[in-house]
Subunit: 239 residues, 6 copies
């Protein structure tokens, strides 16, 4: 039994609120237990300079930024104002890469989608929840494009969700909160598509290496969690 009473294969309660603010075309307040994020998706009708100079400049682009707000942790986290720390850089690169995997940039056309993941409260799993919520914000933002994009092919070619798994006292567990994450022997983040294929796998041994069998168990758990998250995404998008 886990410290909060969950089964090893049980997600934390997920809450999703679309259009939390209205100025950004996509604006999702998403939480998993005590982890709370505001994910916005903005659209810029230009391309970044390095992209615009490219012969493939008819294709669009998507990029992401991730930021833990100072009040999201106790003790308060120092604001990243003079330089971005390595962890934030790594996470926002992962989020951008993962969400790019579901966009047909030719259909999107020469515009840039910016995903901003603001961590309002951090209790583990912010990067994977940012991807799961980012997909919803992305859907909402794309919907505002209307006739600016061709209707022949969908801009989004699949759905994307992500979850963390780990090994705690030898047992594989799903969707770790902060306490579990800091004690886990392995930390594995998995990003998958709606068709059940992998977009990204990042597994790190924390103090102890892991065997192939342990990897397999964790991947199975992740797959199960991601299927549930995708159902919640679809429900939110219909709601």
């Amino acid at each position: 039994m886990r410290h909060d009473g969950r089964q090893p294969d049980e997600l934390r309660p997920i809450r999703i609120q679309r259009q939390f603010t209205k100025v950004a075309p996509g604006s999702v307040l998403i939480s998993a237990g005590d982890t709370t994020l505001l994910v916005t998706a903005s659209i810029d009708e230009t391309l970044p300079p390095w992209k615009a100079a490219d012969p493939a400049a008819q294709k669009g682009w998507l990029t992401a930024e991730y930021c833990m707000l100072p009040g999201s942790t106790s003790p308060r986290k120092r604001r990243e104002r003079e330089k971005v720390d390595g962890r934030s850089t790594e996470i926002q690169r992962l989020i951008g890469r993962s969400l790019r995997a579901c966009v047909d940039f030719e259909t999107l056309g020469p515009r840039t989608i910016m995903i901003d993941v603001e961590v309002l409260q951090a209790d583990g799993g912010t990067r994977t929840l940012g991807i799961t919520g980012g997909y919803i914000a992305l859907c909402d933002a794309i919907a505002t494009l209307g006739d600016k994009v061709s209707k022949d092919r969908p801009v989004l070619t699949t759905s994307i969700a992500a979850v963390s798994v780990g090994i705690s006292h030898g047992t594989p567990i799903l969707d770790l909160d902060y306490i579990e994450d800091s004690q886990a022997e392995v930390d594995l983040n998995v990003v998958m598509t709606g068709s059940g294929e992998f977009i990204e796998i990042q597994g790190t041994a924390e103090g102890r290496s892991f065997t192939r069998a342990q990897l397999d168990q964790q991947l199975a758990l992740a797959e199960k969690g991601i299927r549930q998250l995708m159902e919640l995404q679809q429900a939110a998008l219909k709601g």
Copy 2:
């Protein structure tokens, strides 16, 4: 009549939600019309180095940071990650200075309170709303100190609220939204105490200078608005 149907002396609808997140001792979601802020108050049991070296080091300190999140405006605002822009610096200095005016730092003792104003959506009046909401977050944070502070004297010696006023087409108006602010001839921010005295007055002519009579009209309007805001603060703190 104003573009949104308000009377010249009418505030926008104010919504206040305390404990929006739970990790920060003070956490207030506050909105005035479409301006939405998350204001957190954190407590650090140390003093900043320049303060700790001071003979008055038994006294506490309060400081503030202000940040417009990228998704708070359209077009998206570039994240301040490498340097803070001049406007943010100016605003956070005003917020810190204003809230320090209600704290008895001797009673607070050698600790630092950090007020973080995160602008989730910007539609004018963010700096004054940050002060008004910051006071509530500050009250909640101080309450968590319990027996760490003496009960002989209150830590907070008065209440603080703030509002913007301006002159539009020659008429003084209260609590400007973004459209009004960008067309106003004068922009005046007023911070007052619960006893009706001034903490800060910042008035700027925008393209046209203003007379003493116009200043007086605006100050009267500000005083009226601030009295209403203080009632809303008290109601929220009791709720």
Copy 3:
């Protein structure tokens, strides 16, 4: 009686030397007591990028920088070389905003005037003296434009001067030096036009809030001081 023997409504001795250097089109050495500034005005025949892209690009622009030189204080002030501190940012924004209020940018045409306020010695009141001296440097710089600007309308639509007032031991006083400033209960900076209207009012309670009556007394004092400063400006410009 004040510590230097002045009456409450008495300015410090003002000295103004135009064309202190000759390479900049405007170059004014101005002092008020022991506060000494070199204010230069330079003209750039282009616009800043954000301005040039604007449909109103036929209009000119004015911007200001403020810098306390390391030797201007004791102990020596650390040079702002890696980042500008919040106070300097705030001051230079005030100086730029104030001086823009007297320029007809359409008549000026698509060029940029840069005002540089270098504090050679700091003894209080540097920001207001920077505005007062900046107006003179601006006049001299505009004069060098000759036939580049239309003679139909003047580039400068009014004159601008500024002064600080405060409350010390309950008495309102004019033009505070450093010692007075650090003990004052209120610090109020006022910028006015030649026609006696306000451009900017910035009043800050220092440890104690102030009443409406106290505000009125200070504004009267400021108005008197600014009238004298404007006479000194006119004398210097004729000299």
Copy 4:
């Protein structure tokens, strides 16, 4: 057949030269085909400040920096002098994390080992080769500690090596060079211990998602390559 004639499961030729320079206690010139790195290991007899303040301060630390020299690519890579780019940050965090997995920090004692990976020529696989070469530099540096560390337990608890695998035109291939890497559909970096367990797995879909079966094939290939690299490490360390 691959563009350079290798079999799918064939490593590039590996060359290892220990003590390339003599001032650093570990200094390894390592190349895989045209990828050439200089990896040095330095020892600092202090701990980083955040570590020294920690109750576990009797334990040592290891950290890594990764830098592509400007001449390592064509066109020349701009030198990272004002800020480190996100990719370098991510890579050096991976290298540090991987090499920390083989160090018993209690036996090492309160000192810091710095691994510097300088890319002299980049042709794919720099991060994994940095880990493989870093392990050798680390062995050499530890050896210079002599009697400063206890002989009861080894400082290094296992060996570490790493390799990249990918899928190209549907076929899993080992140790990708730059051309292969830029065309691969999947990019997977694997770090393993001498006992055949995982330290880190980072798999990224490049334009196309991958199935569980494809993941399994790649892991098998990585394991085979890492076994060979470990033999080459042992040979170099004996040489």
Copy 5:
């Protein structure tokens, strides 16, 4: 004949005003033709951290900063606020090194002298004039130390002055102004002591290499100019 009518071996008119400001212990306004500098010398009763940790920490230190103010040139020079440019770095290192050559740091004791060279107007020769004026500011600052330093040995062991020489159209010339400097074939800065020995020689071919004979001619010219500058320094210090 030179463009301003000077003989090849003639200095520009030198003006020196001590105590230009009064808050810094040394404050010298010095000009050579149209080059005008404010050089201040401040004293800090501590040592820089890297020096304080040193066993020789009973000895003092001197360091210099050099800054061209924006209004010192036409077009206006961009202010060095985010990073110091290479030329300024090089010049301030030269000024500090040169002035350190005349200080007995043991007699000075554990304090730091800061020389700040502010270029108010730039017309060539700012670095050498900064050294010549810096020596005067240094004398004045040392004089304020009074009984804080031993009287057994002088703090200043010699005097220091500097000048530029160059070759223009094949003729060696002394004390180049900006026009001459930009056309010269060789640019040579020479720093000497009161006893006629060298502290620093920096000679650079500008587009054309120079022979040993040309070097000798220039050194003779520099020696002559420096002797005159030293007389002017002595006169100013007596005045």
Copy 6:
């Protein structure tokens, strides 16, 4: 006799390996005793922006960067990643200036040559060895231009080499290593052309001023050393 057994006028053993890497058009591993550098020369077919805007934009440009790698010294040198230190700036400006003296930029045409001097191991004399090795890398890079440049005039108009000399215990010595450099009374770097003329002379008194006679002795020693270095350059370029 010197600490390593050399005569006063004896160079350290010089080793030169061209094409150490192959991606950069010039790539030279050069060492003098224990000082080891990798010098690469890259060619960019564009000009820097400030140069391209220039009417002389048909002419090319050459610039240099100098970097001591962290493992090049003991204790390890902190990597210059956030700002370049003053010493590196000064050295790379010297290297660029010196090598520009041998290039006919009109013949080179509108392209930029970048010289990167990476210090793999530092034992004194890195800046002069960087120039000596940089000349070889430059020759190799120019050779790759083939028909892109006119054959009527050579791109390189002379050869360039450099050496350090100094005075140790009153004796002038050639090519100082780190130990000698840190004890020398004078440090003089000399850059010369193949025709025996000067490009740059930088002499600095270290704690003790030097006479004209001492300068002459050192210049003679430098000239002798540079002649030998030029023979080694020619041999390497033929080899």
